[in-house]
Amino acid sequence: MSFEEFQNCARLYVIGALEPEELQDFAAARKQYGSAGEDFINQCYGLHEAFALSLKPAKASNAIKDKLMSMVRERGQGQSRPRSA
């Protein structure tokens, strides 16, 4: 896979649009291109940011924040609530 093909695949990869059979080739190319490949993949995640920023913000109510901060202060960090069945 050329680096240009790798770049095309990387952009699909970060949005989860690579098909399973393409993932194998992409993984091999990722090893082949090493840190240059990883740097490029990291840059591709900027696409996520752009898509999110293109949306009109929809602010949540203050009640959501109050509840969140109450949970954070109550539980501390790294403790997740056991999920009910």
Binding site: Q7, N8, R11, L12, I15, G16, A17, L18, E19, N42, Q43, C44, Y45, G46, L47, H48, E49, A50, F51, A52, L53, S54, L55, K56, P57, A58, K59, A60, S61, I64, K65, K67, L68, M69, M71, V72, R73, G76, Q77, G78, Q79, S80
Partner: protein
């Protein structure tokens, strides 16, 4: 640029806030929430199309940011990118888990051609000022053909694979792939140009 939103002079950067969260500072999370809850909520809402579920998930996402902050590494990317990736993954998981996928698909099938317009419409309303980050992002996305916007919309906001998009739109798989590749490359290149300008 230290943040994707305009900050008051002297306000901590996004990275500063993430470092604060990593050290257990709840006030840092509070500030990050104030800064980005609107963007995260818009993203979740766009994916799962349900206000109540969106609010529940928004809360879960910020709890996850609080609990997983140690996994954020500034050298690998910006905090907003990390948060958006996490949020999108959680929202698409929720969409699939709740088996709402089929319902969303039915809704999309009813108006597939309106999706790209719906995406960009948000950014062309008069209530936003020129120079706003959202205007810039929307201009970038608007600059690609609608057919490419459509497949990117389905992949990014609905979590569809190339095959699912092909099946959903009756477009040949090869065409879906080409449209995705061309559209994403154009957006990527435009973003790079913007970054280089600032």
């Amino acid at each position: 640029m230290t943040s994707a939103v305009d900050l008051e002079p002297g306000a901590p950067s996004d990275v500063d806030l993430m470092l604060g969260i990593q050290s257990g500072d709840a006030d840092a999370l509070s500030q990050l929430y104030d800064r980005y809850n609107g963007i995260m909520r818009a993203l979740i809402l766009r994916i799962i199309h349900n206000e109540t579920e969106t609010d529940d998930l928004l809360q879960e996402v910020f709890m996850e940011i609080w609990n997983q902050a140690k996994n954020f590494a500034a050298e690998k990317g910006k905090p907003l990118g990390w948060m958006v990736t996490l949020t999108r993954r959680r929202a698409i998981d929720a969409l699939r888990k709740k088996q709402a996928y089929a319902r969303a698909e039915e809704r999309l099938q009813a108006q597939p051609e309106q999706q790209p317009l719906a995406w960009v419409q948000n950014a062309t309303e008069n209530d936003i000022e020129a120079g706003d980050t959202r205007v810039l992002m929307a201009k970038v996305i608007n600059s690609i053909p609608e057919a490419q916007q459509q497949v990117i919309e389905l992949a990014f906001f609905q979590g569809m694979s190339q095959r699912e998009i092909a099946s959903h739109t009756n477009i040949p798989l090869g065409t879906v792939k080409t449209r995705l590749e061309l559209g994403l490359k154009k957006i990527y290149d435009s973003l790079k140009e913007l970054r280089d300008e600032f």
